[in-house]
């Protein structure tokens, strides 16, 4: 499909896929919630309380995402006098992206990597490791920064927070069901005669129960899938911002040849980095739980792009 090989097509395709994932995820949540509600006949108050806790917890994380991410990774503010080129690159990409210049941080690590964080473009930060600054040339650095700025501009922190909230609620329901439901047993029998829905309700419940048991795996899969889609999106958006896919693809090549891992890597923050901070992918092929797509894939997509012709449709 010609539409998917140019930058605009890639970007709209990725946004669609993310929307599909999130909608699917929410449907999953609704299904499990329905099953539980049918089984326990609990008042909505109980669910609301737990649900509120999860939402509140994630919102607090989201609002402070920049401070947390920076603190966890030992980032310190980059002095403009010392990191002149880095600041220049961040400024010029911010102009191209049409967002305010984010705060610039440096991480004292040899492993080359970078991340962006912040709840919206007005409160954003970008951090790079010393290792990255050392091995990348200016064009590659620009590509990396453009990728990170795209995360900011595409509100990816918000997207991943929504996914985390839905995921958290899903796992919550599963916990409630398994722990309390099996313990108490027949919460259902008292009301069988008065519950409506009949056959359909029963099927939904069975499906909901199955999902509830499998939900931690599903949550991990969906979270990883959304994270990967957003990474592809950030690659394409970044290339569009600086009108140049080769800076980033060259940078990804260099990242691919680095053997080590980032000391402060953790699975909670892994998705924000430009490359998997745990080091090279364990398997060459697409790992469904990986937060990042394989580097070869990302490079191929970037370098396989065709420039849109003036009269091209789609």
């Amino acid at each position: 499909m010609a539409g998917r090989t140019n930058l605009y097509g890639l970007i709209s395709g990725n946004k669609w896929k993310t929307a599909v994932f999130i909608v699917g995820f929410s449907l999953l949540l609704g299904l499990v919630g329905y099953a539980l509600g049918w089984y326990f006949r609990w008042g909505t108050g109980m669910y609301a309380l737990f649900g509120l806790f999860i939402v509140a917890y994630n919102l607090i994380l989201y609002y402070n995402s920049d401070k947390l991410a920076l603190a966890v990774n030992g980032a310190h503010a980059a002095e403009p006098a010392e990191y002149r080129q880095l600041h220049n690159v961040v400024e010029e990409v911010a102009i191209a992206a049409g967002i305010p210049k984010p705060a610039v941080y440096v991480i004292d690590a040899d492993a080359p990597n970078a991340f962006a964080t912040g709840r919206n473009p007005q409160h954003a930060s970008v951090a790079v490791t010393r290792g990255l600054l050392e091995i990348m040339n200016r064009e590659e650095l620009q590509g990396v920064i453009a990728h990170e700025m795209s995360h900011i501009r595409n509100y990816d922190i918000l997207v991943m927070t929504i996914v985390a909230i839905i995921g958290g609620l899903l796992v919550l329901f599963r916990d409630i069901f398994l722990r309390w439901g099996l313990f108490w047993g027949g919460g259902r029998r008292r009301r069988t005669s008065s519950s409506g829905g009949g056959q359909l309700g029963l099927i939904l419940v069975v499906v909901g129960i199955a999902l509830a048991i499998l939900s931690p795996i599903l949550v991990a899969l969906i979270r990883a899938a959304v994270s990967r889609q957003r990474e592809y999106l950030a690659d394409a958006s970044g290339a569009l911002i600086v009108r140049n896919p080769y800076g980033l693809s060259s940078a990804l090549r260099k990242l691919g040849s680095y053997e080590g891992k980032l000391p402060t890597a953790s699975s909670a923050t892994a998705h924000m980095f430009i490359a998997n901070p745990f080091g090279k992918d364990r398997r060459g092929r697409m790992d469904l739980f990986a937060s990042h797509p394989p580097l070869e894939d990302r490079i191929a997509r970037l370098e396989g792009l065709t420039l849109p012709e003036p009269d091209e449709k789609g």
């Binding site: 080129q85 400024e91 010029e92 102009i95 992206a97 049409g98």
Partner: protein, 182 residues
Amino acid sequence: MILLIVIALLVVLVVIAIGIYNSLVVRRNRVQNGWHQIDVQLKRRIDLIPNLVETVKGYAAHEKEIFERIAEARSLAINAKGPAQAAAANNQLTDTLKTLFAVVENYPNLKANENFLKLQEELSGTENKIAFARQFYNDVVMDYNNATQMFPSNVFAGMFNFKAAEFYTAPETEREAPKVKF
């Protein structure tokens, strides 16, 4: 009952109309902001030049011709009246700067000079910013023009006199690689 529905519908339509009008305003303002951003970067480049010239003179004082050309281009850019003159002056400045950097290639000591390297980074950074500012300007022009042409916002555009904006285009003339004379 029907009256309520009609009133509700009208309210919804008015809200939508306000939304469309406001989005046109926002887009037009973005275009104007984008245009002025370009000026900001061009001015920044003009300000960087004296420092650059002094550093180069320290090593290549006899290259008088290029310094004169830069001074002339810079003064033209500062005194330009109107966008057409400013555009021409800034393009001339771009050319003379390219020539200057071509000249610098012949002075390895200068090329290694830390001050010069910093200035070079600043200038090349500024050139990038100018290019990106123009690119961003064209992006918002496209967005605004889309809004003035697509239905239903084109109706509002016509009613309230939102005219399409012009893209920034680079000058037509081909540029040869700058020739350096000794």
